[in-house]
Symmetry: C2
Subunit: 678 residues, 2 copies
């Protein structure tokens, strides 16, 4: 037997020779192997579990003897009998190297665990949150070498965890002495490191080894909906996701109406700030209850939001955002205590991080989309549209990224549509119309059956068929266009013109009857001419924004389109392109990234370094202001046609032939703009 | 005429050649000459006033022509007509160099002005406060290059003042947009730089050029008295000094009784914290009113205090300070917002700095004394005693400094003395006793006359003669010892023994009649045997502490004694030495430093770098714990005699011969300890 032995860690492959008797955790730390530990090697936390391999390892050219590690010791026996441990596992802090050995670090024992995230590119999140739990043993006071209890805590953190520059707020200092004595000079601290502050801040202290959780909230604060993910900051697991309506809706449906409310009503901004903070507190309490955790164990919150929501969350009057030059009070990221935002549901020391805004109309939500989808790393020219009440649009590749926002309005979310409703059970979400018979079939949220499938009536009995949600109206209008019920200018033809009794006159225009539920006491659901106009306005704004960025970039086509936003996940690429919502592209290059803003928030929550990353990326993004750009108006007008008055859609034409119809008769033509192009 | 010219600044002597047309302020900045400016050279603030010299300067070998500077311009004319300017002065930002010139920077135009401070060494304070006012011009927002208003403020501070890493709290961000617009993109900011935080923090903003003041409070938070200096942070002037009783006195006279109160009464510490914070608020309001300034213009507060006051100010239960090992919750310095201490009288963003504590019994007040008196820079071995309810004692030189505290009790402040009172008009403060006649004469606060001077009765008519203050009782006891009324053991002799009817029996002991005011309805003022015992206990504790430090240092004598504390200023060195309060030393080497703790607080308030200095000094001070040191008891017992039972006092003997008397007769000897030595 030699004086030292070879230790090889998998999966990293890191290796080194260590004196016999070296604990595996010590070997791992010296090699920089990613092996977790909260208690610092005291056999308490069990985070350093490893799996030794025995026998022949021809890959490494070594043989691992059955006595390559020391025998089970009392600490491990006690831990296993109390908590249980998988067969073959050892505690890395207890097992000592006695011969050449191969040590596998299972994923759950890695500090920087990889967490799968949904994105168009399926990149993982590497866990490295700003707050972590550390167990320390503190030297007892000595009147001959006087120093404060806090200074000895700082010393313990430096010596036991190599942490420098530790600070604590008064509420921690006030509780420190009794907690240290209760824990017999052993305590667990929740330690926070912001990305602009050189200091580590103690957020919470517990006597002894604290086994409770450490949680964070990633919040996408939208004009309409506030959505939150509750994440376990130790392993990145999403324990619950929940959303509430933004109560500011009662002050105005869209952003500009809320800015107006603040302008017209002294103190109106204060009212809206209070309302949204209360809603966030209530959401935090609800989501904690859902996940069965104590909301006081939430130590981190990341917000992404548009600039108006951003200012109202911070209590800043958004009035300047309502008028040129749309000056933000501040555009950079912001780190601050949650208490300053009155987020009293969380731990009193919880820390908030708000992503940077890009411009007065392009917010931290767009920054979060960029963090999630990383256009700045793309080889291809990628267009990312985050569809909500406002659309955030990014275009670029690794050389250059452009951004703008476009006021699509709430039509894509089912608002301002005659039978529109939010996405909820009973809402029509998919539509198909037979080109020959002009008869529709559809699916509603809550059932996988089509309306002409057997059992559909039974399956939708509980929910009923209550209206059309955002994706449903998009599919309906696109299908109507493909079936020749709607012409290129957006006009619905008469029953005679389209050869279907489902086209019913309504004043001087027509509606298309999608579903008549009146026999069962349900609603009669039409797609009206006004609905078509609302969708046309929304999609024109979206397309014009994208087109403006393409002009600025000097490209006529894009390689890839990513649809983001909660709603983006449900848009059918084909229907979006028939409608001309997005530029022409090969259909298999149109991808959905789900709620990319929410994912971006989750990344910033779980990985501290990503905060620096997005701040640098945002700094390099070039912002294009749509509101004052004359070409935006031109693009907007041209995009009114379905799919487009001017731009060719060759990729779309290759798979779909749109009927060449026109319903703009002299008698029906009441709208000047359309007549000029009819 | 050449292309450039020589510019010589006085008093610095800095010189350089500059292109013709260079403003004097620019030349000064390039040479690192200490010339003030708040407006950054815009002719608004007038802080950069300079005095050009004309004619022959043989010292520098140059001749200054009458046209060496450009003529008065409109800005200077306007300023002079509005505000006035001394003859011969120019504005450094307006006057441009046109030929060789000598420029004097008057003291009031220097940023780092020197402020005289009272100390044993008469060192000056160099002004460099943590908070200063800066005027900036901010770029207007541009929607094509979007950035937040705050980011453009940060940019202006960087470009116009070379300030990096600027932060602002939410309350500033909330007000920033209207203030910028009201000031037409010109604002004044109060900028704070703490000594542990790399960031500059904006504490306040004003539209345009703000001419208001910028003030700070240096607070000596004592067990008995809270004393504050209100300082102008621009020039260091002390605008007002004021004090109030510490209202915690109602919970206990001395420190340990307050700790006991906290231990015996749940929530007692909270009560005491609230009381002291309320008193500080009220003191701040009073002192601001006295100086006729707005208390909201107070942006900085520095506290010095003993450890128990320190913890109670911070809201930390002081219970651990009442029992060995006397563990401080924290010993380091502390920077925090005044709002966290509920100091609502000040500006809402005011910042607090608390000096570090040295040990569980040696507080930030002792650190402040060290900052003021700088024993660590002394070539001589210096003993510094800060006399209060607790005495803080420092001993050392540039090689090593020791510190301890000693529980003298309040006798030196006139408390626990039969006719004792606080230093106030009417209190006897000086005493002389004729050795032959044993007749006293005295002076009272409020009059410079001695009691046997003509007109004394008239002069003291208003105040009366009400009692004895701390310095009075010390002189009285020392004079009684010198006159042979009191023997070396502290016993007062009988009328027969001392040959004076002023010695009157009181039970089994005697008292000395100092003043009988009964004829005028005033008090009869005695020095009783109990008074002597109280002074003996106090002076023994003080001497024993000093002696313990001398043991530790390995010295038998000290080169210099500095008496600090508000009370230290009034102690007569001779009487202190007769009493054996302090070790024997040449009388002219016993100096008073006035309220050194208060001065230390003022230094930390006015000079940011001094905060780093004292933190480093405190780190190197070796603390000696008196409470558990057996030799302290021994020193204490030996120091009970007047001046001392064992230690020789050769310097004292050279100037004063103490009568060899002893009044310890068998019948009177009721005290065993004294009998053994009698």
């Amino acid at each position: 037997m030699t004086e030292d032995a070879l230790v090889i860690f998998t999966p990293s492959g890191k290796r080194g020779r260590f004196a016999l008797g070296t604990p595996v955790l010590t070997a791992a730390r010296q090699l920089g192997v990613d092996l977790d530990s909260v208690c610092g090697g005291r056999g308490i936390c069990s985070k350093c579990q490893i799996q030794p391999g025995y026998g022949e390892f021809s890959k490494f050219g070594i043989h691992v003897d059955s006595e390559a590690l020391t025998d089970w010791n009392a600490v491990e026996e006690r831990y296993k009998s109390k908590r249980g441990m998988l067969d073959g596992r050892r505690l890395g802090c207890q097992a000592k190297v006695m011969g050449d050995v191969v040590i596998d670090v299972p994923p759950e024992s890695q500090v920087h665990k990889q967490v799968i995230r949904k994105s168009a590119t399926q990149r993982d999140i590497v866990m490295d949150p700003a707050t972590r739990l550390l167990f320390i043993e503190v030297t007892e006071p000595d009147m001959h070498e006087p120093s404060g209890d806090f200074e000895r805590v700082v010393l313990a953190l430096r010596e036991q965890w190599q942490v420098e520059a530790v600070e604590a707020d008064l509420h921690i200092l006030r509780r420190l002495q009794p907690v240290l004595r209760k824990g017999a000079w052993k305590i667990t601290v929740a330690l926070h490191k912001g990305n602009h502050d050189p200091h580590h801040r103690i957020l919470e202290i517990w006597p002894g080894f604290h086994e409770g959780g450490l949680y964070g909230l990633a919040i996408d604060l939208g004009s309409t909906t506030i959505a939150a993910h509750l994440c376990d900051l130790r392993d990145g697991a999403v324990l619950a996701s929940s959303g509430v309506m933004n109560p500011q809706i009662r002050f105005g449906e869209d952003l500009m109406s809320r800015v107006s409310y603040a302008m017209m009503n002294p103190g109106g901004d204060v009212e809206m700030t209070r309302a949204v903070r209360e809603a966030i507190n209530s959401l935090a309490a609800t989501i904690a209850q859902e996940a069965q955790i104590d909301p006081k164990a939430i130590f981190e919150v990341v917000f992404v939001c548009n600039p108006v929501m951003h200012h109202l969350l911070l209590g800043i009057d958004p009035v300047e955002l309502g008028q040129a030059p749309f000056a933000l009070a501040l555009s950079g990221s912001l780190s601050l205590p949650a208490a300053e935002l009155d987020l009293s549901a969380l731990n009193r020391a919880a820390q908030v991080y708000i992503l940077p805004c890009i411009a007065g109309h392009v917010g931290a939500d767009c920054a979060a989309v960029a963090l999630s989808e990383e256009p700045n790393k793309s080889e291809q020219m990628v267009l990312i549209v985050d569809v909500g009440t406002n659309a955030e649009i990014l275009l670029g590749n690794k050389d250059r990224v452009l951004a703008c926002s476009s006021p699509t309005g709430p039509a894509f979310e089912g608002a301002q549509i005659s039978s529109g409703q939010r996405a909820a059970p009973g809402a029509i979400e998919r539509v198909e119309i037979d080109s020959l018979t002009k008869e529709p079939r559809f699916r509603v949220i809550g059932s996988d059956l089509w309306s002409d499938d057997p059992g559909f009536a039974e399956a939708t009995k509980t929910s009923g068929i209550t209206g059309i949600c955002g994706s449903g109206i998009i599919e309906a209008v696109a299908e109507m266009r493909m079936a020749g019920i709607v012409d290129g200018s957006g006009l619905i033809g008469s029953a005679e013109q389209v050869r279907s009794v489902r086209s019913v006159p309504e004043g001087r225009t027509h509606s298309y009857l999608l579903h008549d539920g009146s026999a069962d006491g349900g609603p009669v659901i039409h797609v009206t001419q006004t609905d078509i106009r609302a969708i046309q306005l929304a999609k024109s704004a979206l397309y014009a924004g994208a087109r403006l960025l393409m002009d600025e970039m000097g490209v006529d086509t894009v390689d890839k389109v990513i649809l983001a936003g909660a709603f983006g996940a449900h848009i059918s690429p084909k229907h979006a392109m028939v409608l001309g919502m997005i530029p022409d592209a090969p259909l298999d290059h149109v991808l959905s990234a789900g709620n990319a803003a929410g994912t971006g928030a989750r990344i910033a929550l779980c990985n501290r370094a990503s905060r620096d990353t997005i701040e640098a990326v945002v700094h390099d993004i070039h912002k294009v202001e749509t509101a004052i750009e004359p070409r935006f108006q031109e693009h907007f007008v041209n995009a009114n046609a379905i799919p487009h008055a001017v731009d060719p859609f060759p990729e779309l034409s290759a798979i779909v032939t749109l009927p060449q119809v026109s319903y703009n008769t002299a008698g029906a033509g009441s709208e000047g703009r359309r007549r000029r192009r009819g």
